[in-house]
């Protein structure tokens, strides 16, 4: 598999890695943007959530009461402030069990968040290139939502800032 077969997206946020990880996972229900093309089932989707820990799921919530819905991911690695890895799938079921890794690295004044979507050798050859291209744009867009929430909206954005952590 060529290096180009890995889809990557990167963004930098002005909070420390532990906070960036918490915002990404615990606050996904706030930063994931609603809209008809942003869901697996737009008629039923009410939000996103992560079940923490290895074996937990990333769920597109359809039932507000139970929290149930469509499983977008199954967590393989859960290292707060460092790394999140999950098996990924969408409603088309053409890219099931591809893998997404999200790394949180401390940089001067914040965190670099790098997402890598790989495992495309599992995908049928004639559709893999098209799906990779969709994801190449999709993940950049999605990390953009996350970074804007981390900067403008998240209640964690002040206390989690890299500047604040130097004082406490």
């Amino acid at each position: 598999m060529r290096p180009t077969d890995v889809v990557t997206a990167t963004v930098e946020v002005a909070v420390n890695p532990a906070t960036a990880f918490a915002i990404f996972t615990e606050e996904i229900g706030r930063w994931w943007r609603p809209g008809p093309i942003n869901w697996n089932d737009s008629r039923r989707a009410v939000g996103m959530r992560f079940e923490p820990g290895v074996g937990g799921r990333w769920i597109e919530v359809h039932d507000e009461a139970t929290g149930g819905g469509f499983e977008c991911g199954r967590i393989l690695v859960w290292e707060p402030g460092a790394r999140l890895v999950f098996l990924y799938r969408d409603a088309g079921h053409e890219i099931d069990d591809t893998e997404v890794e999200v790394r949180f690295e401390a940089i001067d004044g914040g965190t670099r968040v790098t997402l890598e979507h790989r495992g495309w050798d599992k995908v049928l050859l004639d559709i893999a290139a098209r799906k990779r291209e969709i994801k190449r744009w999709g993940w950049v867009n999605i990390l953009g939502w996350f970074s804007e929430w981390a900067f403008w909206g998240s209640p964690r954005r002040i206390q989690g800032s890299a500047a604040a952590s130097e004082h406490y």
Partner: protein, 116 residues
């Protein structure tokens, strides 16, 4: 990505709280690259699918050197990249494709204009 340069200039006090500027694709560079109609046409063609320079030149009714100047601006500005270099009878063929980051940044900036 975070708040973009134009928004930061409007909110200097807010900005003082943060040491790092969120990674931002330079909006000035992106807009300058898109200010030319030929380059916008190239972007529209690449939006359909990746293409080689020769095909872009033909589609824009331009010579090789002329389109190369535009491709260089787009490449240096970060709007396009070489997807892969294929070889056809020893000739190196560069296939160009769009990069998503500048367009996502531009969209986010435009979203700010429409914010409630």
């Amino acid at each position: 990505m975070g708040p973009l340069v134009g928004v930061l200039r409007a909110s200097p006090d807010w900005w003082e709280n943060f040491k790092v500027q969120p990674m931002v694709t330079d909006l000035d560079t992106t807009l300058a690259a898109l200010a030319d109609p030929t380059r916008r046409h190239v972007v529209e063609l690449l939006r359909e699918r990746p293409r080689r320079a020769g095909e872009l030149a033909a589609a824009c009714a331009m010579s090789g050197p002329a389109i190369s100047r535009h491709l260089r601006v787009l490449r240096v500005s970060g709007l396009i990249e070489v997807e892969e270099e294929r070889f056809d009878q020893d000739a190196r063929l560069r296939v160009y494709r769009l990069r998503p980051e500048p367009f996502v940044t531009l969209t986010a900036w435009l979203d700010q204009m429409q914010a409630f």
